[in-house]
Symmetry: C2
Subunit: 205 residues, 2 copies
């Protein structure tokens, strides 16, 4: 026990979470560009200096927020990977989920992968990122187990898979691909194509 209340409430309740929640909403609705700590405080109904009791600075809040984003993505991927189907089908499904999740919250995506936050002592994104890689590693190893994939360093194959779907997702979220792919249906089909390509690439024989 650290000596706090048992209910989890104090002055405000728990501001820390309220701030993260508010920040998440602002990020989703207005993007990362004009994102201001003072807006967050306003949205949470506290003074503009209150956040400093819970986060060392703006970057710390963003880092925490980014962590939540990684958790969300990790959960989505894990769920998609938890299927009894073969590794190929799983890879396709995971790719689609990856793209969907990323597109659903572009601001969060840019926060997570834009290195807007410089680690600075705090380990930064590294652990969260490696937990994502772990998911792909699991899929690859499962593929090995049934002899589906080429005999390579599994970490390498996992990175190949991740790179591929990540690239597609980033191009899509960066509004850099054809306007055609703004349509989610089209993008979904492209995701499938990309995934199939990965599979061809890493498959045995």
């Amino acid at each position: 026990m650290t000596g706090h209340s048992t209910t989890g409430h104090y002055h405000h309740g728990d501001l820390r979470n309220a701030l993260l929640q508010a920040a998440g909403k602002l990020l989703r609705e207005q993007g990362i560009v004009g994102f201001s700590l003072r807006d967050v405080a306003r949205a949470a109904g506290v003074s503009h200096a209150a956040p400093y009791r819970h986060f060392r600075d703006k970057a710390a809040l963003l880092r925490a927020l980014s962590g939540l984003g990684f958790e969300h993505l990790h959960a989505a991927l894990t769920e998609a990977a938890a299927s009894r189907r073969g590794p190929e089908q799983i890879l396709i499904e995971v790719t689609r989920v990856y793209v969907h999740t990323v597109m659903q919250n572009p601001g969060m995506t840019r926060l997570m992968f834009g290195t807007v936050i410089s680690a600075e002592g705090d380990a930064g994104n590294a652990p969260a990122a490696s937990s994502i890689l772990e998911v792909f590693l699991g899929i690859i190893k499962a593929g090995f187990a049934v002899g589906a994939f080429r005999d390579r360093d599994p970490r390498e194959l996992a990175l190949v898979a991740w790179s591929t779907m990540h690239g597609l997702a980033m191009l899509a979220v960066g509004e850099v691909v054809d306007a055609k792919y703004k349509d989610m249906k089209e993008l979904d089909a492209l995701a499938r194509t990309v995934a199939e390509n990965v599979i061809y690439g890493i498959s045995r024989s």
Copy 2:
């Protein structure tokens, strides 16, 4: 003739370019995070309001800068693609150049692909981006010509190739891959692996 001097000089010389140059340097050295228009003006030795005579606002300057970045990347890729070797070798080389170019200037990369700049009337990144896609399209079509690649919509295959190397580059620049890959040699090898995977994936048979 618009009625300006013939030498291209005016008060300062040509501030517009000086500003872009200074901005580029700041971006390279200090990243996009604390990037300020006033710093740019200072670095160019003019008052903090001077840039507004050449760019509508900060975003406009960043857009122009990003355009230069796209030109640079495009030139590097074009050069790498201009080889007499087969499409497979070219694809490998282009991937390595892509990753190198991106890693050489992370700030620029984030500017180009981070959508820090919201198009806003100006067409934004779209044309520049499509000129990049054009390079891949050329490679793919050359591959078709010698019967190297699977019979697919070439645009689709080009997007697959781009996605893949872009993803690797973004993960690398986001400091999200293993620390091991901070070593350029290792990263280079990974780039080759990823490229080979693309090739396997899109190759005929």
